[in-house]
């Protein structure tokens, strides 16, 4: 896992980027600025290192020559993250490419891990990060680069994985490490047509849903215009937790009333029904929340 260099991070000290402070106008400005900066940087790198040496390969080389790296599907995904989905403590962009979507999410003040398995592209991603940190468009303190399909370690929960194009044509569903990695996520925002392999047929997309369900995800919301689907773990069953607690008598909590082992098992049963608490990233102790709708009915809370 690669983190932003200290020297780069110091440049961001005066940045104040918060999700809550970025309105639609600011989001549009961010998109324009990030795109222009990446086109300028990678245009130079393309001239200097060539199509493959720059890590752009033919796909990004064509986009750079066309004057726009950010694609509409990435901008739409960014908007969904900003405006339609619940706030997560951390975000991971899968197959991040040059990091364009990851930079947008980070630019909105959210902690991001950019996952990219191609080593040459990781170098391009690092170059982009350095450039954007210097020009204060992103916050290097909350930006991590993970070489690979998925983050190798999750520091922040809950975590949302975002993938607009994650096609590899590899049998990743059978890869235990990959499945274990996907289980780290608390939610996924993906294009089901472009996940693991190209899935043009509805049956292929249903198979993907079944695969994700086997990992504990449920289809939470479809975004037909954006062709994206939001999968989330069902909220830990707080009713179950409350019911489990209701079966415990006050006497059972008294010392000597139960064996320590029985008591510990009882506590573990309850805790297993309660979702994990979010944790802050490194450095800061802030946990981004951005809850707009508080659930007053629950003793735990399903806030949105």
């Amino acid at each position: 896992m690669v983190r932003c260099r200290q020297s780069e991070c110091k440049l961001t000290e005066s940045i104040s980027t918060s999700a809550a402070s970025i309105g639609p106008l600011h989001a549009a400005q961010l998109v324009r600025k990030v795109d222009a900066a990446l086109v300028e940087l990678h245009g130079r790198r393309l001239s200097e290192f060539g199509t493959d040496g720059s890590g752009l390969f033919s796909h990004y080389a064509a986009l750079v020559r066309g004057g726009a790296i950010l694609r509409i599907d990435e901008i739409q995904a960014f908007k969904l993250v900003r405006e339609a989905l619940p706030l997560y403590a951390g975000y991971a962009v899968l197959r991040a490419g040059l990091g364009e979507l990851a930079f947008l999410i980070n630019g909105a003040g959210l902690p991001v891990t950019a996952c990219e398995p191609n080593a040459a592209r990781v170098e391009a991603l690092k170059a982009g990060l350095g450039q954007l940190v210097t020009s204060k468009m992103v916050d290097g303190k909350i930006f991590t680069i993970a070489p690979g399909f998925l983050p190798d370690r999750v520091d922040v929960r809950p975590l949302l994985g975002v993938a607009t194009d994650f096609v590899f044509d590899l049998p990743l569903e059978q890869d235990q490490a990959f499945c274990r990695g996907l289980r780290q996520f608390d939610g996924l925002l993906i294009n089901p047509r472009l996940f693991i392999r190209l899935r043009e047929q509805p049956s292929e997309q249903r198979a993907l849903t079944a695969f994700l369900q086997s990992l504990g995800f449920a289809e939470a919301r479809k975004f037909p215009i954006e062709q994206m689907v939001y999968f989330a773990r069902p909220p830990a069953d707080q009713d179950q937790a409350s019911k489990a607690l209701a079966t415990i008598s006050v006497d059972a909590t008294s010392q000597g009333s139960t064996m320590d082992s029985e008591f510990d098992a009882m506590v573990e049963r309850v805790m297993a029904l309660v979702p994990p608490a979010p944790s802050p990233g490194t450095g800061t102790t802030w946990i981004e929340r951005r809850v707009r709708k508080f659930d007053l009915r629950s003793t735990f809370g399903n806030d949105e």
Binding site: S16, A20, M271, A277, T284, T285, I287, R289, F294, D303
Partner: protein, 563 residues
Amino acid sequence: MNVLGLSCYYHDAAAALVRDGRVIAAGEEERFTRRKHDRSFPAKAIRFCLDFGGLQGSDLDLVVFYEKPLRKLQRGLQMAAPLDARSRETVRRHLRHHVHQMATLPQLLADTIGYRGELHYCEHHLSHAASCFYASPFEEAAILTVDGVGEWVTTGQFVGVGNRIESVREIHYPQSLGMFYAALTAYLGFEVNEGEYKVMGLASYGQPTFAAAMEKLIELNDDGSFRLDLSYFDYVHSLERMFSSKLVELLGPPRLPSEPVERRHMDIAASAQKRVEEALIGLARSLRDVSRSVNLCMAGGVSHNVVANSTIQKSGVFDGIFIQPASGDNGGAVGAALEGYWRASDGSRLPQPDYNTCLGPAFDEAAIVKVLKLRRLAFRKLGADELCREVARMVHDDLIVGWFQGRMEFGPRALGQRSILGNACNAETKDTLNVRVKRREEFRPFAPIVIEEAAQDYFDQPTPSPFMLYAPHVRPGMEARVPAATHVDGTSRMQTISARHNPLLHRLLKKFEALSGVPVMINTSFNIRGEPIVCTPADAVNCFLRTDIDYLAIGDFLVEKPF
């Protein structure tokens, strides 16, 4: 729509009744049971609220509890993990507390007031946020909540607009400014959740010579967040001691409650106070950045730190500030009721420029006379003007007068309804009050009241301060005129009195000004050390008779000491 808010089971249990978006009644259980910081189910406070509103329990549309019990339990259990012999008792305690609370709360509501409707749960810091924003004069505002801990949150940043509050971000336990201050309170030999005021008062006597040590205890980040070095603290795992032996290595031996206060203790208090102020300024600045609001609302126990409040105000980070006067857990009842109301209501909220804390019970002439006669006290009934003239003369003559008028305040401060009054012009008033009535630590300051229109002549306070929530400096040259109101560092915990909001007390101050040339009096809470502020005429008479208060002005009556 009638919504009842409740806070209880930790400390300062309270109930509040909201009708049509406004708090119409609220009371702390301690005032009714006479047990200080009473945390039990607030049956008596609820009964008062219902009686005031002319309601039966079944008339309530909703009851809202000020916390999320399951989330709080989660914190208790997760922080204690992994289970071992040491933490198991902590877990047992958390679980027992939760099970008891969850099992009994709905049943208690049914049994005591016949309420069998919905019971909602408002997050602890959302309750704080609601308690200040919805009571504020602002249409929109940034909201900062800071306390020891709620469920997980110790510090919250919110934005309030109209009748909605959104959370922005938060800091979780064990990172806590409130716990930091509480740990230093315990280290300095004072009781946690009670002695924080004493640390703040003590700080004025010291110099921040331990500032470098405090920087080790709390690291401040550029984004306004903070990080405690938890190796200096033990509050996560110990129910008995809040600080670790490492803190003792850093600061020296802790003070025992029975030991005298020394210079070193004053300097440690000053250093802790300074660090908390620095942290709060960072939080305020970062909130200004993320909210882009020029208005700030504050609540949570740390908002009772009036010195820090003044530092925030002086910093100019925000143009307007509103602080909930009942910022502790008692105010959680108010916030829970307000949030519950606005979630259930489609109405539009109007800013509240005239929020006041007189939300408790009042007593009519018959109730007062009944008590006075029962206790066989000599009393005279006077008109308002004559009462004020008499009391002003007594205070000018350095007598101490109990002042019991109208509805009781909600919150920890006596703001002119349940007060003891003294002469601010006499430097000895502080000692007199301490020896004869209050019997509290000599380093603690006494607070003055001043007529609002003259406040700026005496104090460097840019805005009215009707709830005693700031500690401005006394203006140069004025210290000699109000020596009893001036703390050792030249500040004063003053309260402004306006003719509009408290005409009787304003009139009294004007009468006092006519005699002394100064529209300032000392105002301290009507209670004895260790007891809650008086609530009823009987409480007032008891306190009057057990202390050396010279006269009691209760309603229209002036009561003489019988001996």
